[in-house]
């Protein structure tokens, strides 16, 4: 008993000492991780001896330099999640072999009543199962890391495709490893022992089925990503191929696909159509909205235009009304000429002339136009006429004056 305790305490002591070496020489070890060899300049002979003895470093042969031990490299890669160097250890067969022999020793110890050894074997079994579990968990973690970064640790698409391929192979190996674990065999192996059953059957089965699901999921996603990579690669190649071809053949014209009986779907693209609309006032409900919109229109910033310049913007007059207006104007002009022709220069009543010449203008309109014509004459010509207005107040209380007739008379005898 005491011998076994002494062994354990010696293990503890040496182990701690050697682990401490990792910390003490961390810089040198990290340099060895990033380079081919470990630089020895800052390392004393005794330190180097200790590192070699702890198998943290090794020397492949006398001539070559000192290198990091594979396990240390793996440990660092694992700690840094350095996906370029992280390894996936899928060797399940050996672990299974170890578990079998540990189970046998455990049962032997139990049948001999060696409780301390029995407990030790159980501890080691537990550690082996944890290791197995941890290896799968690590591998799956590493795979997810690579997947989620789109293999961002390599820059070239070709490298990504290679990395993806490697990851898919790792998954295949991990799945093969999982398939090696035969629970029927394990059930037989553990027999009726409660603690073994719990460790190797119920617990392990649950964990492994979880790993299996994760692996399948990662695998599916990796294949998807690979398809995307391949597609991108194909696109790049297609575009650069077409560019090269078109540069070499500047006159290249593809067939007129639009004239085929079956127009390829890709080339059938309908002409754009503008869904135009204009404000309409034929619905009472809308006119309210439209008037609001009108009020919301920003006031134009430019200054008011000169009327003369704006004349083209006048609303075109109704052509019929314009013709009648013109006829009225000509008739009034004839009236003025008639007054000029009057030999006695007597005042001529506009209404009398209207009635005599059997024109059909209403009296009021006629008078308006006669007065307007007078007002419209240039001042010099206006002086040649005198316009008498026959007018009276509208009523005794209203000074509004009503014109009953006008009389035109030549002012200067010609």
């Amino acid at each position: 008993m005491s011998g076994e305790h002494a062994l354990e305490s010696r293990l503890l002591k040496t182990g701690s000492e050697r682990l401490a070496l990792l910390g003490r020489h961390a810089d040198v070890l990290m340099q060895g991780y990033t380079r081919d060899e470990v630089p020895l300049d800052n390392l004393s002979d005794s330190a180097l001896r200790k590192l070699l003895a702890a198998r943290l470093l090794w020397r492949p042969d006398e001539q070559s330099g000192v290198k990091l031990a594979p396990k240390v490299r793996e440990l660092i890669a694992e700690m840094l999640s350095d996906e370029t160097r992280r390894h996936v250890n899928a060797d399940v067969a050996e672990t299974l072999e170890l578990i079998r022999s540990l189970v046998h020793s455990y049962r032997e110890a139990r049948s001999r009543g060696e409780h301390w050894r029995q407990a030790q074997q159980l501890l080691r079994l537990r550690q082996e199962v944890d290791d197995l579990n941890g290896r799968f968990a690590d591998a799956i973690d590493s795979l997810w890391q690579r997947l989620n970064s789109d293999f961002g640790f390599v820059s070239q698409l070709n490298d990504k495709i290679r990395e993806n391929d490697r990851a898919q192979k790792q998954i295949a190996r991990l799945l093969d490893g999982l398939a090696l674990i035969d629970f029927d065999e394990l059930i037989e192996l553990v027999g009726s022992d409660g603690s073994l059953r719990k460790l190797l059957i119920s617990q392990l089965q649950q964990q492994l089925s979880h790993h299996y699901t994760s692996l399948r999921e990662v695998q599916r996603r990796l294949i998807e990503l690979m398809a995307r990579f391949r597609k991108q690669q194909a696109r790049s190649r297609l575009v650069s191929g077409m560019v090269a071809f078109m540069r070499e053949h500047p006159g290249f014209v593809p067939g007129n696909y639009a004239r085929r009986s079956e127009v390829p779907a890709l080339f059938n693209q309908a002409a754009p159509l503008n869904a135009a609309a204009a404000p309409a006032l034929d619905r009472a409900l809308d006119s309210h909205v439209l008037s609001e919109l009108l009020h919301q229109l920003p006031t134009p910033r430019h200054a008011a235009q000169i009327v003369a310049a704006a004349s083209p913007a006048q609303l075109p007059e109704n052509s019929l009304a314009a013709a009648r207006q013109q006829a009225l104007k000509q008739d009034v002009e004839r009236f003025y000429l008639a007054v000029l022709d009057q030999p006695q220069a007597e005042p001529v009543s506009a209404l009398d002339y209207l009635h005599e010449s059997s024109l059909e203008w209403p009296d009021e309109i006629w008078l308006f136009q006669v007065i307007a014509e007078f007002q419209g004459l240039p001042r010099s010509e206006q002086r040649a006429f005198r316009l008498h207005q026959d007018e009276s107040p509208a009523s005794p209380f209203n000074d509004l004056r009503l014109i009953h007739d006008v009389a035109l008379q030549l002012a200067i005898p010609l």
Binding site: S155, Q156, L157, I223, E224, M226, A227, R230, K231, Q232, Q233, A234, R235, S236, R237, L238, V239, S240, G241, M242, V243, A244, F245, M246, R247, V253, P254, G255, N256, Y257, A258, R259, V263, P264, A265, L266, F267, N268, Q269, A270, A271, P272, L273, N274, A275
Partner: protein, 209 residues
Amino acid sequence: MIEHGPLLERLLAGEFICAVSDENAHRHLSSDETRDAIDSYLRPLNRRLASNQDASVYFLAWRQLNDEAREQLSRQLGDTVNSLLPLLEWLQLVQEALGRDTLAAPGDVLKPAEFSAKCEDNQSLRERLERLATDSFFGSQSEQLDAQVKQVFKRLKEHGYLMQPHAERQVFVVTGKIDYLVDLVRFIRDEENLPIDADSEEGAQESLL
């Protein structure tokens, strides 16, 4: 149908609808029911809803190919062929200038400023950009690098290959119409039996899924 009014208007105006240009509309269009409803609405306009093979972009196609439609399609094909080389060269230029290992894909963000800066530092890129910008498709009149880049991005936006999420910010997003362009190129290659590297592996991988 009312809820699809704005979408219909955009489709009728000749826009390509993809997950980048309008995620919501694109999702609606992936439903058979919506597509049928839109199709029957478009029937009197002699149009129907079409998409590329992956259904990553939707656009309107003629329902009946009458003479008028064929005439229009011929003209359009001519335009497409003329714009093909400048567009593909631009894709290559972006890939090289920004140091990417893949072509610009839908959803990629492009900044004209970054693109200018890269071209400014590299004589060969600068010359290629100059040649591209003054091509009649992009039609830049300027000798200034920034103005050339601006014009190129403007034209690509007009043609629907890029969109600008914020009018005041010079940041562009590649739309699904790029997929359509690549599909066109692939079709022309296959149809004309052009001696261009075939992407045989693509099909093999996809069939695994």
